[in-house]
């Protein structure tokens, strides 16, 4: 490697440099491939027959297609109940998040707001220190918020990190707009609803996505606080695959499909749980990258 360095010093686009370039392309390409392969394999496997899955070590294109695994999942309904609960949790949770986050961030975005520093310090303390899992668990019990989607949403209503991103965005909105509206007799609430929020679509989209992905993927809190009838898709998936408890059949009559294709069903369940994230991924990628950039600029 070191020799290559010196070599490339002398001849600018010499052989050594070109070899280095090829190696770099390869390493990056292989890393990208490693991130993709597990997904591709699971997708391929979910459409494959059980025979092929147990005999062949690895394949990306199954020789024989079968939709049995998906039919099986449809008929048991368990995974779809999970998806439905996850959808409720995500929608409700994100709505609660956005209400609390934007209303809290707006006053704090005003440099003239009296009490601003005190409140910001209160928030920073919570980023450094927390009561921990058990006091929160007891509190949730006392407030009768266990086993409720709303309770779970309220419990994490504001992420300080997201709140600061929103606050920084609000701060960037030109003051002149604000002043003009004030002269026209608008109060702060009106300015917030009529001027600030419409101008903040980019940050609202990205922070909503931050929150939504968080709710969709959340496992631990959903497991602790929600009872089985409110199981989210993550909990169902874990039960099927990690705990190997299989799909619990609501319907006993499965003769039409024969024995459940166990391995393919697990793969199909993984695919069904991943698809929603992949569907929103193009938006997510756009906004998340922006979000990280905004967050990186301190304010």
């Amino acid at each position: 490697m070191i020799r290559m360095t010196y070599h490339s010093n002398k001849i600018k686009t010499g052989v050594g440099d070109r070899i280095a370039q090829v190696i770099i392309y390869l390493v990056v390409g292989i890393f990208a491939l490693i991130t993709l392969l597990p997904f591709l394999y699971v997708v391929a496997g979910s459409f494959a027959t059980e025979k092929e899955l147990t005999e062949k070590a690895f394949f990306i294109i199954p020789s024989q297609y079968s939709l049995n695994a998906y039919k099986y999942i449809m008929e048991t309904g368990e995974v779809f109940r999970g998806l439905k609960n996850s959808l409720i949790m995500t929608t409700l949770g994100t709505t609660v998040n956005m209400f609390f986050t934007t209303t809290f961030a707006y006053p704090l975005s005003k440099k003239h707001f009296k009490g601003r520093n005190l409140i910001l310090n209160l928030v920073i303390v919570t980023m450094l220190f927390s009561g921990g899992m058990i006091p929160m668990y007891i509190l949730m019990g006392t407030l009768k918020l266990k086993d409720s989607f709303l309770g779970l949403a309220l419990m994490g209503a504001i992420s300080p990190f997201n709140m600061i991103i929103v606050k920084n965005f609000f701060q960037e909105i030109p003051k002149e707009l604000d002043e003009a509206a004030q002269i026209d007799g608008c109060n702060d609430l009106k300015i917030f609803l009529k001027i600030v929020l419409p101008l903040s679509k980019p940050v609202i989209s990205s922070v909503s996505l931050f929150y939504a992905v968080g709710h969709w993927n959340n496992y631990f809190n959903a497991m602790i606080y929600l009872k089985p009838d409110k199981e989210t898709v993550q909990i169902v998936l874990r039960r099927i695959i990690v705990l190997a408890q299989g799909i619990q059949t609501d319907l006993i009559d499965f003769d039409s499909l024969g024995a459940p294709p166990d391995k393919a069903v697990k793969m199909a369940a993984t695919v069904v749980a991943t698809v929603p994230i992949i569907l929103v991924y193009p938006f997510v990628q756009k906004y998340f990258t922006q979000g990280v950039m905004v967050g990186a600029v301190k304010g």
Binding site: T35, T126, M155, V242, T270
Partner: protein
């Protein structure tokens, strides 16, 4: 108190005026204060009240007597926690995983970002970036599911390949000795790609003229990287390192919990999973609150400490 009093007596008009202006300000901007209220209540109820709840670490709390009526027991729970044999096992596992993460997982996005930075074809760069960010957005449950399906010893594809070569299977999921490697591997797989973003952002701010000038002076690829690229992201690396040290005892309990089973527990029990089991499963509320408090305090000291160190070495720090 006395001093304040004397000031008001000397200049009562000014002080009244100050009070008046605050009152006028608050009335003028009453909506700002009303808007602040839900968020403020959230932080008080869901952050500061649980902080107050920590007092049960010094009590013998039971749900029937309540927090206030439970008897004080002083440091009993801390003594039991530190003296118990679990403490060292949990500490060893937690620090072991954190250290492995620091050595292997922490540098991974930096290296990948440096490699991506060297790629000249924008198209190739964009396509690989699109792929490598994906795992960040899938849940730990999906990562655990994929791991189980790839590595299990009966029909996991990795073991099928190993078996076709060596004739034996390796039980990655049940043997304690593979646990830490599996966890670090999962973290690298899931977060390396996304982790590059922050470094690439820092790199995009580097003036291209610097590279051109250095190239004219005869600097090669590695010299450019060493003298221009790395210094440009030094601040970011240190900031990320601060954030990491703060989470040294926070080993990401969702990930670890999902990979635990009865067979690998000796290597897999970390603070968070231990607190969960003792507190929520076994209902030893006070004991596990004490364990949690220990963890929180150490974590806070580590963040503030490394932040202080970073400032001493001339970096900007985060707090």
């Amino acid at each position: 108190m006395g001093k304040e009093h004397s000031i008001t007596r000397i200049d009562p008009v000014k002080s009244n005026k100050k009070k008046d202006t605050l009152f006028v300000y608050m009335r003028q901007h009453k909506w700002l204060y009303i808007m602040l209220l839900p968020g403020l209540l959230y932080f008080i109820i869901f952050h500061y009240v649980p902080m107050g709840g920590i007092i049960i670490a010094f009590k013998q709390y039971s749900p029937f007597t309540g927090i206030l009526k439970s008897p004080w027991v002083g440091l009993t729970h801390f003594k039991t926690f530190f003296a118990g044999k679990d403490f060292f096992l949990v500490l060893k596992n937690t620090l072991g995983i954190s250290l492995l993460n620091l050595i292997f997982y922490f540098p991974a996005p930096i290296i990948l970002a440096l490699l991506l930075n060297e790629i000249r074809s924008q198209k190739y760069k964009r396509i690989t970036q699109t792929f490598i960010y994906i795992p960040h957005f899938v849940s730990w449950v999906i990562v655990a599911s994929l791991t189980y399906q790839l590595f299990n010893s009966s029909d996991g594809i990795v073991n099928m390949i190993i078996k076709s070569i060596s004739g034996n299977t390796i039980d990655f999921l049940a043997k304690p000795k593979y646990f830490k490697g599996l966890i670090v591997g999962q973290s690298i797989w899931k977060e390396t790609g996304y982790g590059t973003i922050i470094f690439l952002a820092a790199l995009s701010g580097v003036d291209i003229q610097l590279y051109d000038a250095a190239r004219v002076d005869g600097a090669g690829r590695w010299k450019l990287m060493w003298h221009i690229t790395l210094p440009a992201i030094r601040g970011t690396i240190i900031m990320m390192l601060i954030l990491r040290t703060g989470t040294l005892l926070n080993t990401g309990y969702e990930q670890i919990f999902l990979m635990q089973n009865d067979l690998n527990r000796s290597a897999a029990e970390v603070f968070d999973t231990y607190i969960y089991k003792k507190g929520i499963i076994n209902a030893q509320y006070s004991f596990s609150t004490a364990a949690g408090l220990f963890k929180s305090i150490v974590g806070m000291i580590m963040v503030l400490g490394s932040n202080w160190l970073a400032k001493r070495f001339g970096e900007s720090g985060i707090y």
